[in-house]
């Protein structure tokens, strides 16, 4: 018996682990497989992650010191470049806001509900599972910071994964490149939906795409919201190689987020499902930005009787003329553009479009915004300024028009 003692111990050790493995696998469909072995995982993570945190913080501290105090060369030039870039982006943002507003308006009309990212927690990646077969990373924040199991994790470039294990100060994230991961996606142009899966090699592949579908390399892949984890419309990646042959296509996707070099990520701790808002009050308008950047002429003294409404207003998305404007009238903009026969309105698309002189268009009904006025200019919320239509300026005729002096109106939209 003594001769086989060691072999018996080996067999027993392997057998016990096999039983444990089978127990965990059996529990897997009904409950999270990690629950049954939670204690061991907690001990291990508690033993390993503090060191990882210390090293990452030391590294970050050193890098910050270098960037903040030592590496100042070229900062002025960089600042100038960034300012220019910011101005460009502001204009772009205004254009996008216009599009978004229109989309929201249409969604509201159709009674769509949309998920919005309401709250995020920034966290730092401190380590990984250390195994090629499981693509997970550890974050330096956990339930104490409001992170819960199943929450989506994103980076500045795209989606990253979802939280699968949470401890008070640490959480584990399953990356979208893991083979057990699945993300509901939609292609930006073709609107083709599919499930994005990871492979052992870490590649991302769109699953079960029929071979007759037209999938082109370079097309952007977005979240579809169908997985109930990621909100709709977040960038996932771009289509890489498309291999044909057989019933299904093999569509490779290049992740938007750099999954192999993650440092800082955002955990979406709160999503809100609500009907799209059509009234936005604090948006920056192209005319505001242009008013700041273009040369201006001195203000004219007020001609009308004091007490007259001074500030410029926008109603129904169309400039309303100002009858009298004291020099310091809030919201009044110096006329920057030459007078024309009508109002030279700056649209939210950043394009100048001549519109007929309009004083006050018909207010669209709240329940049906966007459909009230002819010419599709009214948004009912002050967001939708004139859009050039194929019919030219005269095609944009609201219900009521009166002549108005050439004046650009700004100021917050009345509610």
């Amino acid at each position: 018996m003594g001769r086989y003692r060691n072999v018996s111990i080996l067999a027993a050790a392997v057998f016990i682990q096999l039983i444990g493995l089978a127990y965990q696998i059996r529990k897997q469909p009904s409950k999270d497989s990690q629950e049954s072995s939670r204690l061991i995982r907690v001990w291990t993570i508690s033993a390993i992650t503090p060191f990882e945190k210390i090293i990452v913080r030391l590294q970050t501290g050193t890098a910050n010191l270098w960037h903040n105090y030592v590496y100042l060369r070229g900062v002025r030039q960089e600042n100038r470049d960034l300012k220019e870039q910011l101005e460009q982006l502001q204009l772009e943002q205004v254009r996008l806001q216009q599009d978004a507003t229109q989309a929201r308006r249409l969604q509201a009309l159709l009674g769509f509900k949309e998920q919005f990212i309401d709250q995020t927690v920034a966290a730092q990646v401190i380590g990984s599972s250390g195994s090629e077969q499981s693509r997970t990373v550890y974050l330096d924040k956990g339930s104490d910071a409001g992170i819960r199991q199943g929450m989506p994790v994103i980076s500045a470039h795209g989606i990253v994964g979802k939280v699968i294990l949470v401890q008070p100060t640490v959480s584990q994230v399953l990356l979208i490149s893991d083979q057990t991961s699945g993300v509901g996606t939609i292609l930006e142009q073709s609107r083709l939906q599919g499930v994005l899966k990871g492979r052992t090699s870490g590649e991302l592949v769109l699953d079960k795409v029929m071979s007759e579908e037209d999938v082109k390399a370079g097309e952007r892949v977005l979240t579809s919201g169908g997985d109930q984890i990621f909100p709709k419309g977040l960038p996932v990646g771009t289509i890489g190689e498309v291999k044909r042959g057989g019933e299904f296509l093999e569509v490779h996707v290049k992740p938007a987020a750099s999954l192999n070099h993650l440092e800082e990520v955002l955990v979406i701790t709160k999503k809100q499902e609500r009907e799209p808002e059509t009234a936005r009050t604090s948006s920056i308008r192209a005319s505001d930005i242009l008013a700041q950047r273009l040369p201006s002429v001195p203000d004219k003294p007020a001609e009308s009787a004091p007490g007259t409404q001074a500030s410029g207003t926008v109603e129904g998305g169309i400039a309303k003329p100002v009858t009298a404007a004291p020099p310091a009238a809030q919201g009044t903009v110096k006329p920057n553009l030459p007078p024309t026969s009508g109002t030279q309105a700056i649209t939210h698309t950043g394009v100048s479009a001549t519109t007929p002189p309009i004083s006050k268009p018909a207010q669209p009904k709240a329940a049906n915004p966007g459909l009230g006025a002819a010419g599709t200019t009214s948004s009912g919320n002050g967001q939708g300024l004139s859009r050039p239509t194929p019919g030219g300026a005269n095609s944009q005729k609201p219900a009521t028009t009166t002549p108005a002096p050439p004046q650009i109106q700004t100021g917050d939209t009345p509610q």
Partner: protein, 173 residues
């Protein structure tokens, strides 16, 4: 590359300070989890906990200690992954047992032996792991001989370097 047999009288059995026995495996697991943050392919080609299991098992030359060391290190490594516990545990238990059994018969102090033993045990470890992962757990893993052989040689080379460093921590039993 010399591989020599050792008679029972020539066998040197070593032991380790308890601090070393805890700190070295923990450091290996820590580095295995942490280094991929900078070198993503590190975990594709290297398995530091496996090297530690082989080293401890060969130095102690006790089959029971070898399999226990392998089981513990493997289970700890498992607990960092989202997969069920036991996949690395079983693979490293077998490797620990095998390495200590071999340590009794071979002169495991020579570089040649270490290279061959580490290469062989890496392949054994991967075969067991893949079998468990595919057959028992149902993971869709893709076996690539070329990748596994490259990884085996890479681990063997790293192992020889690390074993030389860790030799300094050994104490005669």
């Amino acid at each position: 590359m010399a591989v020599s047999y050792t008679s029972r009288e020539q066998i040197e059995v070593y032991r380790f300070n308890w601090a070393v026995a805890v700190a070295v495996p923990l450091s290996a697991i820590f580095l295995q989890a942490f280094v991929p943050r900078w070198i993503p392919s590190f975990s594709t080609y290297f398995d530091l906990p496996l090297l530690v299991v082989i080293f401890f098992a060969m130095a102690r030359r006790s089959q029971v200690m070898g399999l226990i060391t392998g089981a513990v290190i493997g289970l700890v490594q498992d607990s960092l992954t989202p997969h069920p516990l036991g996949m690395y545990g079983i693979a490293k238990t077998v490797v620990g047992y095998g390495a200590s059994s071999l340590g009794v018969k071979l002169d495991v102090e020579s570089v040649g032996t270490r290279l061959l033993v580490t290469t062989g045990f890496y392949v054994v470890h991967q075969v067991i792991y893949f079998t468990i992962a595919r057959v028992l757990v149902g993971l869709d893993l893709h076996w690539s001989w070329s990748r596994e052989l490259v990884a085996a040689v890479a681990n063997a080379i790293l192992g020889v370097i690390l074993f030389t460093l860790m030799d300094r921590l050994k104490q005669r039993a």
